[in-house]
Amino acid sequence: MGLLKKFLPSQLFIRSKPSLAGGRGIAFRLSFLILVTTSLIFIGLFGYYYAFSRQLIEDKIEEDATHLAQATANRIDKVLGATEKIPEDLSVFMEYLTPETEGLSAVIKNLLENNDEIYGTAVAFEPYAYNRDMKCFAPYFYKDNGKIASTNISYEYFSWDWYQIPRELGRASWIEPYFDEGAGNILMSTYALPFYQGVGEERKLKGIVTVDISLSWLKEIVSSIKMGKTGYAFLISKTGTFVTHPNSDLIMNESIFGIAEARGDNSLREIGRDMIAGKSGFARSVDMISGVEGWMAYAPLSSSGWSLAVIFPESEVMADITRLNQRVIFLGIGGFLLLYFIIIWIARGITRPLRDLTEAAATIAGGNLDAVLPSIRTKDEVGRLASSFYTMKDSLKEHIRNLTATTAAKERIESELRLAHDIQMGILPRIFPPFPDRKEIDIFATLVPAKEVGGDLFDFFFMDDDHLCFSIGDVSGKGIAASLFMAVTKMLIKAKAVKGLTPETILARVNEDLSLDNPSMMFVTLFLGILDVASGEIVYCNGGHNPPYIIRADGEITQLEGTKGMALGVMEDLVYKSRNITMKKGDKIFLYTDGVTEAVNQQDELFSEKGLETGLSDLKNHALKELISGVMDRIETFAGGTPQADDITMLIIGLNK
């Protein structure tokens, strides 16, 4: 595994486990969206259902209540209407009769006896109409402990409602109810109508006939109306005053308008106005006692102009529907919860393999390719994803196995190359100064390979006591082949450079051997010189190599003349020619390969011969080692880290003074 990590880019490995904390999972979103949608649908349906059922109930209530109010009003009207007949008949009598008329009192008494509701009746005359000496005359018959009693109204009655209203209106009228203390504090109302005397122009008002009727029966009728548990009916007079009401404190004490004012309920006032205006209707209202929301249906009494209302508390009317709604909501919530769990379950079922897969992927991403993938056998998208994932894991594993093998092979080759390099370097002279006992010369050389194994070579050895053979060469191409060719070349030189032979002969012989069996057509440029350390004479031969420099003790730097020889290994039977040059004490000969002059920088410029010559010129007075390392420094400075394509080899030999 370590190997894998080494060779795969590090960003390939996600070290932290992928987390769901940042975003909600699919299961959550799925269940959330489904539940929200379901809730909205449920709420919408429920709202519609509620409104619709409510409307149905309301319509039904309106019908029932209106009917009930109307029916009760009619029932009361029937009694009041019958009551009205009595004083009407009496008023007709009074046009022709007087209270003194024989039998009139008997008739009146009879009326009282036969009509339970009637408490008393009066015949009140206009001032002085009965008698010129009597301003007030008003006989009154009434029930007293079951017997009929009679009296005369003692007070001046002309400005009393029961007298004045029918008088001023000129027609029969129901007077506002009142509590009659004399009759035992019972609720009474008076029906009064004028009677006249005379005909035509002469006809004028003579007085008022009244009946007082007890309203106890009215109270019974109205209070017998029950709507549910708390629904009730009430009756108001023409002025809106309560005539009957379950709350007896209100009766004759308070009007519907007073209640409206106290409650600050303007709609109740409007209902009241409709009621006393003789309209019937149905309206939303609040219960005057409890303040509970409800409905009110009302209908007028056509006889007295009073109005009957029936009140329904909404809670009671709607009790059934409320109960039903509660159940629907309860069932809805139950269903909702069930749905919730089912959705969660389904969503979990869908996402569990995904989650397992995610975890496995995270493990794999962490680098463990041997992680066990969840076994998903479904044939849906998740199953396909899992199978792709399987394939991916296997491919990845295979790929990494290949990569590991390749890498191992490459490593092996590279280590062998390093070994080859070491061997190559081993065959080149490495110890400086190489001949510490030869004080007349100094030698220094360096080889910087471009790759692990290079194709440059150099060598030097004494052929006899005075003759130093030295060479530098450059094999075409690089790598193992080049280095092998170089090794062969070096061995051949060593073998062929026998004492007494000239450089041209040595080169020719080396060329012959190289060319003899060279199927890969490799070649080597080679410079070979033999220095007579005693005389300073150098015999040299150049096989296509860069001409070396002579650095004279006086500072003059010159290139050696060429010998027009070709590179070795290309052709057999080549003939080489030698030249001579003499080094004086203090002179140096500098040899190099084209790796020096063809060193490149980042701009692809060459270090060039000119660069080399400048370097040599600047460094000419230094010791050999420093000179070479100085040139090397300059090359490195010039190249600025650009990897070099060719080996860089330098060899310098100095004749000591």
Binding site: S159, E168, I175, M252, F257, R269, G272, I276
Partner: protein
């Protein structure tokens, strides 16, 4: 045994509490007994007196007062003359009339500064200004006809007057076109019989130079001469009661409702609230309190009205009638 130990101190405590309750509001020995008779039922029109009574303000001022519930059967004038009551509430015009007839009544405080009497008509009857009343039936209270008559004279109206009872039913049923009403009483009854203010038109007498301030406190000259301190205390306590009633309307209404219920009178809180609020309109409350002062020009205006109507022959001198 243990229980007794605990119980006993409790019993002592209770006993002590009882003693404190009954003994501690120790009656000052020198409380003067007096009787007050308002000229009508115990409604918010007399809130000040009932509140002062209930709140112990009269006691605070050294009076052990009794209030006789007013009504048609107990005319204050009679009670004052008979010395069944020392203090009475009366209309200014009633009092001037009585004084002119020789009853030695003295006004010791004029509570109302404005007349609450109005004429009211339905707009639907076509009445918008005084001249529209010409030829119409107008309900007039027998005892309060001076202002309406002066009003008709002033606008040169020929109306058919009908004696009006204490109810407004004649007006509501259409028996009269215009009705007399007290701003603080019948007007609200009309509203609470289903007529809206915008359906009504009102004529305030004080807006027609006919301001006859009404309720005032009266005593017989005798009473005043014998015990001026008592009179002063009664007036001060009554004014304090009024102020308390205005400052604590709901408390005042509780007291009014209680008294009305006691008299088996219709006790409508909204009606009494309206009345109490209108009392504020008619009884000006200043920083210094309620003045209770009778203005001389008000006095002579009322006197002249009475004289013009032949109800009195001479206007009694103001100085003798009013004692501040």
């Amino acid at each position: 045994m243990r229980y007794e130990l605990i119980k006993r101190p409790l019993t002592y405590c209770l006993a002590l509490l009882f003693i404190l309750l009954f003994i501690s509001p120790a009656m000052p020995a020198d409380l003067k007994k007096a009787v007050f008779i308002p000229h009508w039922v115990p409604q918010a029109q007399f809130a000040g007196y009932y509140v002062a009574y209930e709140m112990g303000i009269y006691r605070k001022h050294g009076i052990d007062l009794a209030i006789i519930p007013g009504g048609s059967e107990t005319p204050p004038l009679d009670l004052l003359k008979d010395e069944r009551a020392q203090f009475g509430s009366l209309w200014l015009s009633t009092a001037i009339e009585a004084r002119a007839q020789g009853v030695e009544l003295v006004n010791v405080a004029q509570i109302m500064q404005k007349s609450g009497l109005i004429l009211v008509a339905k707009k639907s009857g076509g009445i918008k200004e005084p001249k529209d009343m010409n030829g119409k039936k107008v309900g007039i209270w027998d005892s309060f006809k001076v202002q309406p008559k002066a009003f008709f004279n002033k606008y040169n109206l020929d109306v058919k007057t009908i004696t009006q009872s204490y109810s407004v039913n004649l007006f509501l049923s259409g028996g009269v076109d215009v009705a007399s009403a007290m701003w603080y009483n019948e007007y609200h009854t009309i509203l609470n019989s289903g007529l809206n203010p915008d359906e009504l038109v009102t004529f305030f007498f004080y807006e027609h130079d006919l301001n006859f301030p009404e309720d005032g406190i009266y005593v017989m000259k005798n009473t005043l001469d014998q015990d001026p301190e008592l009179v002063r205390a009664f007036v001060a306590a009554s004014l304090e009661g009024w102020r308390y009633a205005f400052d604590h309307p709901e408390e005042a209404l509780d007291i009014i409702i209680k008294n009305l219920t006691k008299e088996h009178m219709p006790a409508s809180r909204v009606h009494q609230r309206w009345m109490l609020n209108r009392m504020k309109d008619l009884i000006p409350l200043t920083e210094a309190g309620i003045s209770g002062k009778l203005k001389e020009d008000d006095y002579y205006r009322v006197g002249k009205g009475l004289k013009d109507n032949g109800l009195i022959e001479e206007i009694p001198p103001f100085a003798a009638f009013y004692q501040e």
